[in-house]
């Protein structure tokens, strides 16, 4: 695992970044180091105040959807009261996006901050069960680290709700909220069709709060330092900081904590930029350099902050070939439950592979455009929508390259794969469990 971490501050702004990751950088933080840096765990003894603080802070989910955290907390609390049934709180560290490494890095370096957030969230919504869900295949060392951290907490009596560790199968959709609940309930990690919302009826029918691990770490600091402190960085509409996974020419992930609203330019290399990962958006280099890291700005390029993935494609690679390779992976990672996704994604992948080669047939591009429209909004989850967005942005950003391929040329001088794609797709039902 790569442990390169740093805090980059907004120009001209006094900041205290990094907030989440230990300032020393690479040394995993044990209970004593954590307590010395962050102070004691501030239980509130009543649910309401923390939700108010989270509301005032303006914290949004850092797993990708940027949903206001206080609304989820309030919905789960209301469901526990209405149904007189304790809630379940799940810290989602599945990080199934192959290009992302920020959640694994956070869990490795500052597990206690995440576990504090899990306890405080459990208290806030009235939960009697807490689960930390992490990705199985790449990060076995994280699982061991978390067991150590939980043992340290037991020794000092930090936790009021026992925390159970659970591992997700190595599938792209494992971290999707309903897939996660399906898997924790003993089924495969494949999405289900909502309603009901999991905040109402999730794991075992209990009101369920699912929050990304980074979100919980922010929550643990808001509980200690308050909403005004949280808003000292970031923009008015999108306050706070976030962890980003940045990949440039060497392809290695660098985990950086930055304020929302930071100009993207200094984070990028020379080349087209993939913002938000494999459900994200390709943006041409010149356009990306004018954007800032917040949804208001990124929206102008049809991009979103997502889980903070920023990848610059080296100029010696072909963006079409890279996109085609990733889309073949995404097609294989479809749970295969919904007709449009099951039928559309493999066809899109095949047509993109043709476009990535020399002299594609004329209809290949029209087919991709039609199929991306056809699959959007028609799945139980957003896998087809996210894949279609990624593909459409490639057709726009690499339009000149498409023309070159039609003439039998390609500007790339290296065919080596750049974007990370896990090997081994699901073949049997067991690969989803």
């Amino acid at each position: 695992m790569t442990m390169a971490t740093e805090g980059i501050s907004a120009e001209g702004t006094a900041t205290d970044l990094p907030r989440l990751l230990p300032p020393s950088g690479r040394q995993p933080e044990d209970w004593h180091a954590h307590a010395a840096r962050n102070g004691r765990l501030p239980y509130r003894e009543a649910p309401g105040t923390l939700i108010n603080d989270v509301h005032a802070a303006g914290l949004t989910g850092r797993g990708g959807a940027a949903f206001p955290v206080h609304r989820k907390l309030a919905a789960v609390l209301e469901a526990t009261r209405k149904r007189r049934r304790p809630a379940v709180v799940i810290a989602n560290g599945a990080e199934s996006e192959p290009a992302s490494d920020k959640d694994a890095t956070l869990l490795w370096l500052a597990p206690h901050l995440v576990l504090d957030g899990l306890q405080l969230a459990a208290e806030a919504v009235g939960a009697d069960q807490a689960i930390l869900y992490t990705h199985a295949d790449r990060r076995n060392d994280v699982g061991r680290r978390l067991q150590q951290a939980l043992a340290e907490r037991r020794a000092v009596g930090a936790d009021r709700v026992a925390v159970e560790l659970a591992e997700s199968p190595p599938r792209f959709l494992s971290g999707q909220e309903t897939a996660l609940i399906n898997h924790l309930a003993g089924g495969p990690a494949i999405p289900t069709f909502i309603p009901p919302r999991v905040t109402e009826r999730g794991l075992g029918g209990a009101p369920t709060l699912v929050q990304n691990v980074e979100t919980l770490a922010h929550l643990a600091l808001i509980a200690r330092r308050g909403p005004r402190w949280f808003r000292q960085v970031g923009t008015r509409d999108e306050p706070g900081s976030m962890l980003c996974t940045i990949r440039r020419a060497d392809g290695a992930p660098r985990i950086t904590e930055v304020p929302l609203g930071l100009p993207l330019g200094p984070l990028l290399g020379d080349g087209a930029v993939l913002i938000g990962g494999y459900h994200g958006t390709w943006v041409p280099a010149a356009a990306a350099a004018r954007l800032t890291l917040d949804n208001k700005s990124l929206g102008k390029a049809d991009a979103r902050v997502g889980a903070g993935i920023l990848i610059t494609l080296p100029p010696d690679r072909c963006g079409l070939a890279e996109t085609a390779r990733v889309v073949r992976y995404l097609a294989l990672e479809s749970a295969g439950q919904c007709g449009p996704c099951l039928n559309g994604l493999p066809r899109i992948a095949a047509a993109l592979t043709e476009l990535a080669g020399a002299r594609p047939r004329r209809q290949a591009r029209a087919n991709v455009e039609r199929w991306t429209g056809l699959v959007t909004g028609r799945g139980a989850c957003h896998h087809p929508d996210g894949t279609a967005r990624f593909v459409r942005s490639a057709l726009v950003t690499f339009a000149a390259e498409l023309d070159r391929h039609e003439r039998g040329r390609c500007s790339a001088t290296s065919a080596a794969a750049f974007l990370p794609v896990p090997s081994g797709s699901a073949r049997t039902e067991e690969d989803w469990t």
């Binding site: 289900t192 069709f193 439950q337 919904c338 007709g339 449009p340 996704c341 039928n343 559309g344 056809l374 028609r378 799945g379 139980a380």
Partner: protein, 66 residues
């Protein structure tokens, strides 16, 4: 109170009965799966919509009050 059509895409197997019974609101894509007009059901189509819902062999099609 208006109603909308909703398909559960996991249950749907693309039999296509709905599109035959309610072509005003449902067409089929090139793989035989329904493309649903999700706007409120216009007056006069309630009866056909209910027929389409009952005809679905996998019970994937629903009418939702909105």
């Amino acid at each position: 109170m208006s109603e909308r059509l909703l398909v559960n895409p996991i249950e749907c197997e693309g039999h296509g009965a709905c599109a035959e019974l309610l072509p005003e609101m449902i067409t089929l894509d090139e793989w035989g799966y329904p493309i649903i007009d999700g706007r409120p059901l216009p007056p006069g189509l309630e009866r056909d919509a209910r027929a389409a819902v009952s005809a679905c062999p996998t019970l994937a099609l629903r009418l939702m009050r909105s």
